[in-house]
């Protein structure tokens, strides 16, 4: 056999893709591969697959290829693709749905983006608000980019653009509870 044998794809692929696309509120057959999404995508140069190609993989039933693409993680969610699509395909939502699905399955083709999101949510859970220093600390330590943005630090601290101590929400428990609730809910669906 040469290339992808489309006849031998597992049936479950189809169902999984269907449910994924449905969550994004989209219909795959609406896409006729005109490429306008990818033409206007600001991040496309950095992507391993064009957003259009990600959709094409889904159309063909090649779920694994779509899930392991970096493109959904590189997507800046700027929504340019969805706004200009001639068939109103919510491409940005599909990319996001793929990223969430991959994340749940532990597929993280772009570790740095994954880590950033993960540690972005950490101060939230702790303090209820974002805290750049906490985020940067954890991110730099885990990503191997130990000294990233280091040169900016003194100036930012001086101008109080970075705060040593995090701002805290009084009812931190409530925020944490929400985050836990959402985690449970997302898994249930």
């Amino acid at each position: 056999m040469v290339g992808k044998n489309l006849s031998l794809l597992p049936d479950e692929n189809k169902q999984k893709i269907e449910s994924l696309v449905k969550k994004a509120g989209a219909k795959l057959s609406d896409c006729y591969q005109c490429g306008k999404c990818s033409a206007g995508c600001p991040m496309a140069e950095s992507m391993d697959l064009m957003p259009r190609q990600v959709l094409r993989y889904l159309q063909l039933g090649l779920l694994q290829e779509a899930l392991s693409s970096q493109a959904p993680w590189i997507c800046a969610t700027c929504q340019t693709c969805s706004a200009r699509c001639p068939h109103d395909v919510p491409i940005a939502e599909i990319m996001e749905a793929i990223r969430r699905q991959a994340d749940q399955m532990g597929i993280r083709p772009l570790r740095r983006t994954y880590l950033f999101s993960k540690y972005f949510l950490l101060p939230l859970k702790l303090f209820g608000r974002n805290h750049e220093l906490t985020l940067t600390m954890f991110y730099n330590l885990t990503s191997g980019k130990l000294f990233q943005h280091f040169t900016y630090l003194p100036a930012m601290l001086k101008s109080r653009k970075l705060k040593i101590w995090p701002a805290k929400v009084k009812n931190r428990l409530a925020v944490r509870k929400i985050m836990e609730n959402c985690e449970k809910e997302a898994q249930n669906i």
């Binding site: 006729y32 591969q33 005109c34 490429g35 306008k36 999404c37 990818s38 033409a39 206007g40 995508c41 496309a44 140069e45 697959l49 064009m50 259009r52 190609q53 340019t80 200009r84 699509c85 001639p86 068939h87 109103d88």
Partner: protein, 659 residues
Amino acid sequence: MARAGVFICHCGSNIASVIDVEQVAKSAEQMTGVVYAATNKYACSISGQEMMKQAIIDHQLDRLVIASCTPRMHETTFRKMLGKTSVNPYMLEVANIREQCSWVHTDKEKATAKAIDLVRMSLAKVLKNQPLFTSSIPVCKKCLVIGGGIAGIQAALDIADGGYEVTLVEREPSLGGKMVMLDKTFPTLDCSACISTPKMAEVGAHPRIKLMSSCEVSAVSGYIGNFEVTIKQNPRYVDHDICTGCGLCEEKCPTKLKSSFDQGLGQRKAIYKLFPQAVPAKPVIDAQHCTKLTKDKCGVCAKVCPLGCINFADQESYTTDTFGAIILATGYQLIDWGSHYPEYGGGAYADVISGLQFERLVNASGPTEGKIKRPSDGAQPKSVAIIKCVGSRDVAKAHGYCSRACCMYAAKHAHQTIEKIAGAQVYIFYIDVRTPGKAYEEFYDRTREDGAVYIRGRVSKIYEENGKLICKGEDTLIGKQVTVEVDLVVLETAMEPAANSGQTAALAGVSADKDGWLTEAHPKLRPVETQSAGVFLCGTAQGPKDIPDTVAQASAAAAKVLGLLAKDELETSPMISAVDTSKCSGCRFCEQVCPVKAISMIDIPSIYNGQKVKRTVAQVNSGLCSGCGACSAACRTGCIDLLGFTNKQILEEVDALWQ
């Protein structure tokens, strides 16, 4: 007392081998109302018909049941036969004992019993039949063509050449439509004006064509053969009866405006001919911009006119005429792409133009005398991007359909650019290339050989930077973003139905689809007819198409009209609906369900509690009614009934088996 005759056809052995026809005849003879029953080897044959005619005389029959093949086969034959006897042709029912009995059943006994039942049902119905008479309506041997583009021109010439009078109504001050704006036509690249203006002149000079420019249809009534049409003449402010078209007025007029004919790229005066070869070759005044009409200043044209044709007090006027047939050739317009595509600059960049603007730029009689120049600075573009499907195949922003002609004229524009500008680089952004036409694919091949670069992908954004227009696209075949920096961008924009075409068509009872294209009676078998008998359509009014298809369809519509006008009279089926006004409540239910709008409401004098009053009731237009019976099934009082299939007849047929 009814005197029915029943004839059972053997149809050779087709019927007789399964059904005991003699037995059927014998049973029929016993039925109430039957005075004579017989069998017949071939009822449809001449001898069979003679035998029945004789029986009518011998037994003074006043109605017939013929049990034979399907009525769809020989009902007309038998009606014609009755036309030569004392029996009214509609005092006939055909019992289908072949297709629906002898051919589908094998058990002789049961088939015979069923045949008897079928005869009994037909008899029950025929006993309630009433004589009906076909009427004929005279055909007014004149055709109205609405729209003076190439479709209307072709249809008008074909009909007029066929010997009938034609009135051609055009909204603009001149014939020509869109075709005359084009430079060359694909795939042959012959000059569009050279092939269309002679036809326009022919229309203008044809003894049997009455050309009404600056006119619109404002009302249509009547029906096939006899349409009463009111035509509105918009004021021209120039008396065309006297005007010789000398052009002095146009020369002296001080008001300069953007020419709509040149798509805003050239100029015209406030008194103007649409274009040099306009037909009629006489000017009109643009009332919105003429300073005499708007501010009561100037009036130069009136001063210089040697014949005194200028009439600033001209008013709109109405004329009414009768026509036997109507052709709708209302054409198309291009979408206003600017309002749909802000990502292409929304019209802010002068050098992003539509395909039709390009046609004017490349046309020798256009504003640049055929030199391709950028509208912004008049420079010759060295690189051009052509973008297809702007407004087509785009449900989110404009239209979902394919405009059909753009693939080819995009190729033509690329070819013309390369031909006229040495070393020009042309990029064509496309989604699909569709070339289903004679010598079309070859033309596309040639364009690629010329060096046009086809890029598969829809452009996401066009913007200006440092004097260049930048188009951001994806080449979907390599899966990479591509950018081209060009001097000129041509958008091949979608066709859409001409403004008001839907309203005009509605006047003639023709509907439009969701996109506004007029609906033909059947997409395959009746492509130029409409649901309104006597109203035909052709050209882009029906849907996007190119010139060859438009002309072919126009000639097809003309052929249909010629066939209609060749008749002196139209025979109308008498099997249409009739209203018993004494019972009608005027509830309009019938009007709501009528597919051909044959039912309208009318006030009739009536007596209520001893006083004279006006009562609203339904009336049927016999010229329009197609005899479907939807009205009579809707009517609660049963006061509107379908002749030939009356409630009483059908109820008797239902009851027949159980008497």
